[in-house]
Symmetry: C2
Subunit: 137 residues, 2 copies
């Protein structure tokens, strides 16, 4: 009856629409990521076929975006994930990259923590003021 509706578990490839749906992206966005080389889905004729690798890369992309990285940087980051450098120089380079990103991330986390702390204290003040108002009524 409805094709592709049953046994979604064994499914090992995805269409652009499925992934767009799953990650809340548009087709255009996904194609854009391909243009920038963030993903490179298989082509069956002209049609894009996405494998698990593409799916996980998309996952990393949206996470990177939530964190606030630009797409270029995201590419270098997710490229780090599935590079398997056998050579020593490459390994050192990768470790450098990791250190750099890590520093950046920790800076951001510190910023977030401070902001969260300030918001907590703001919330305290607000609720104090509010209960004062409620008491005065």
């Amino acid at each position: 009856m409805i094709a592709g509706m049953t046994t979604p578990d064994i499914e090992t490839t995805w269409s652009i629409a499925q992934l767009a749906d799953e990650f809340g992206l548009t087709h255009r966005t996904i194609r854009h990521y391909e243009e920038l080389g963030l993903i490179s889905p298989e082509r069956r004729g002209t049609v894009r076929v996405f494998h698990r690798r593409d799916r996980t890369r998309l996952e990393l992309i949206v996470r990177g975006k939530r964190i606030g990285f630009p797409l270029d940087e995201i590419r270098t980051i997710i490229d780090m994930y599935d590079e398997t450098p056998g050579e020593s120089g490459q390994l050192v380079y990768l470790l450098d990259q990791i250190a750099a990103r890590r520093a950046e991330l920790e800076l951001r986390r510190a910023d977030i923590d401070r902001t969260l702390a300030e918001m907590a204290s703001m919330e305290q003040r607000c609720q104090a003021d509010l209960s004062k108002l409620r008491g005065a009524r």
Copy 2:
């Protein structure tokens, strides 16, 4: 000799150049923030004079940018800081805003933590591979 070089402690206002320097921004950027209503420095004639309020707002802006917020959102956030709402409705609204931003921030923090964890494990693997290579030589 050099004007404005001595006793920088008592200084309570700043020029655009000083703040640009201090925060690593350009004049254009600061003016842009003013155009968007993120700051509103005093005008002495045509010249901008920045007070401590503007300075702290700039501080919050750059932090917000590091976190990855768009300038619009940053404005609503820093506006929360120095609003003193006497009315109950405003207080509730502010509390809502705080909750929303807070949720967003915690999501980002979770993303960052996961990424940091993955990077840590990547680093482990890399260093293991590296010491293997070094041992084999």
